[in-house]
Each structure stands twice: as C-alpha cells, then as structure tokens.
Amino acid sequence: MDDRERRWMQLMQAALAGDRPSYERLLREIAPAIRSVVERRLRQMGAPTAESEDVVQETLLAVHLKRHTWRPSDPLGPWLRTIARNKLIDHLRRRGRRVEVLVEDFAELLAAPEERPSTEADDVERHLALLPDKQRSVIRSIAVEGASVGETAERMNMTPGAVRVALHRAFASLSARLKADE
C-alpha cells in the first residue's frame, strides 16, 4: 500500500464519520485516477474515449451510494478497483460490446494519473433531466450552483432535512436509471 492509498483510506474513514471536506477531497483525488484507467481501457477496446467521463461519473455515484460496503479496516484500493471495473463493464454492455475486463486491468488505478480538468458527460445529464422536479432542482442548486443545503432549503421553501432526503434520493434514482438504461 503506498502513501497515496493510505491517505485515501484516511480520507474515507473521515468521510464515513461525516467529514464533508475530507470526502470531497477524496472524490476529487480518485476521479482523475479512475478517468485515466478508464480512458486507457476504452482506447484498448477501440471504444470512443469520449465516453470515459460517463464511466467516471457512474463510478463516483456507485462509490458514494455503496460507501458503507467498505470497512474502515480494509485497504481502499481493491474496493475501488472492483467498483470501477463493474461500472465499466456495465457501460460497455449497455453499448453492446463484448466485455473482457479483468480486475487486474485496474491494478494501475493507484498509480499517479495525469491530472486533467473534468469534462461534461452525457449519461448523467440525460437522466438528470428525467428526475422528478424537486430532486432535479435540489441537485442543480447544490451541485451545479454550489448552494448550501440551508440556502437550497430557503430558496425552495423546504426544510433542510427534506432537502437532504431529496438529494440522496436523487442520486439513488440517477444510479438506478443509469443501470436500467439498456
């Protein structure tokens, strides 16, 4: 286990304890790592690398929604690789490609990735448009416009608790819709 993975473990432990800055930092660090592996893999398969951002976003959603399946005593690397691999396979299947992705292909996930500004992705955006109004507005307000839960609650005339619930449901249904998008 290298320093970086050890740091990720610590960030995730803090995240599970409710430390939001640690969690955000972790997600920002793993996103480019996932992206570089996914791009390489898509290129090897002759698939358009423009699709890689879809896989990155799906993986981040899954990491988020399944974070309780990681045990703080376990290394984070194998857990993360397995999720990323699973989401890449899902993505390729949806596009009707034959899939042979071994978990070893993600072994270099923890190697230093090239940093790149993140880009737009189609899949999440497309499904976002189909969410119930309230969930979509809450996601837009918090994620895109960067408003806090409190500000969003005030703006939408909801309680902060209801905003949190709507936000969580929105991510869960986004993920389910992505999965069902055959």
Binding site: Y23, A31, P78, A143, L167
Partner: protein
C-alpha cells in the same frame, strides 16, 4: 453535468450510513420474527422438545441447519463487498456438510439396513419440504432486502447465499416440530428444501441484487 459539480453534490450528501452487518442483522431479526410468527400460527414444538436436544440425531438437525445459516451470513457479507474474497470461505461449508456426513455415516453403521429406507422416507416428507420453504420465505425476503444495500460482483451468488441462509433458518425452525430424526431424512428432504431456497435466492438475486 460536470464531474466537478457531481462531486460537489455527492459531498453534500453525507447522511450517515448503517453498516452492512447491522443492516443485515436488523433485517434478519424482522424476517425471523415473521418466520416464528408463522410457526406459532400453524405448528407447535414436538413434545419433549428441549430435552430431546440431548438426542444426537435431533441435535444434529440443529447443528447442521444453524451452522449452514451462520456460514451463509459470512459468505453473503463477503459476496456483497467489492474486492472481498468470498472464494476463500468456501471451506466453511465443510462444517454443516461434515456434521451431516458424520451423521449419515453413523446412521448407516449403527442401524440395520432394513431401517434405512423407512428412515429416509420418514412420515412427513412433503410437510418438511413445504414448511421449511414457508418458514424460510420471510427470512429470504429480509435477507435479500438487506443484501440489496451491498454491491455484489455476482448478484446470483449473493442471492444464493441469502437463500441458503433462509433455508438454514427455516430448517432449524421446522426441526423444532419435525419428528423424523434419521440423518438420511435430513440429508434428503431438508437438503432438497434448502437447495430449493438456495436456487430461488440465486434466481431472485440475479435480478434484484445487481447495482
């Protein structure tokens, strides 16, 4: 949506999550309560029950079914945890399997051959099949509900572990009532019922546990 935006949104959703273990424990408590309620409605413990546990053949039914349930919980948790190695746990199935094998071997060694077939066929084979399945059903539903929070690489295997768990607990409950004590009966009819639950769990799990 930009990935940066998505990350900002995800980071804002920091509601604490229940662990897989406590989620499964909670669900099993509910499922088992349902199974016990079913038992209370339609069955009763056989007469002389707590004392009969000193009887090796009776005790064996509980050891086999409950150890299978315990092993299945352990397996199921591994199967729904990304990156966890469930294969290295396969040997634990040797516990219920080994106890049953010893029981069957002892029965064949100790009892005369003309008693084997009557023991195997027993008195209530059809009841056994249907009641183990019935008692296991609420447990299976609860287990699959809890495992849905996991992230199995192979949803059918995770579902199968949930099915074996439900079959084991259903069998243990039915064993409180069951008067057929031959290990040959247990091997055949308990085995069939548990096998059925396992296959049912795999088939349902394949559809419902993917994520």
């Amino acid at each position: 949506m930009k990935t940066d935006d998505l990350i900002r949104g995800l980071a804002a959703d920091t509601r604490p999550q229940r662990s897989l273990e406590s989620g499964l424990a909670l669900a099993l408590a509910v499922g088992l309560a349902g199974a016990v309620a079913l038992f209370a409605m339609i069955l009763a413990p056989r007469s002389g029950m707590p004392g009969l546990l000193m009887e090796p053949r009776v005790l064996m039914k509980f050891v086999v079914s409950l150890s299978l349930a315990a092993v299945s919980v352990w397996m199921a948790l591994r199967l729904v945890r990304p990156g966890a190695n469930a294969r290295s746990l396969v040997w634990t199935l040797a516990v219920p399997g080994g106890v049953l094998a010893v029981g069957v071997a002892a029965e064949l060694l100790v009892t005369p051959a003309q008693g084997w077939m009557p023991g195997l066929i027993g008195h209530n084979a059809v009841y056994c099949l249907s009641l183990v399945t019935l008692m296991g059903a609420p447990v299976l539903a609860a287990a699959l509900f809890a495992l849905k929070r996991g992230a199995p690489e192979h949803p059918a295997w995770a579902g199968a572990a949930g099915g074996a768990l439900a079959g084991g607990l259903g069998a243990a409950l039915y064993a409180l009532h069951c008067t057929d004590d031959s290990p040959l009966f247990v091997l055949t009819w308990y085995g069939l019922a548990i096998g059925f639950m396992t296959v049912a769990g795999a088939l349902i799990g394949r559809r419902t546990l993917s994520w």
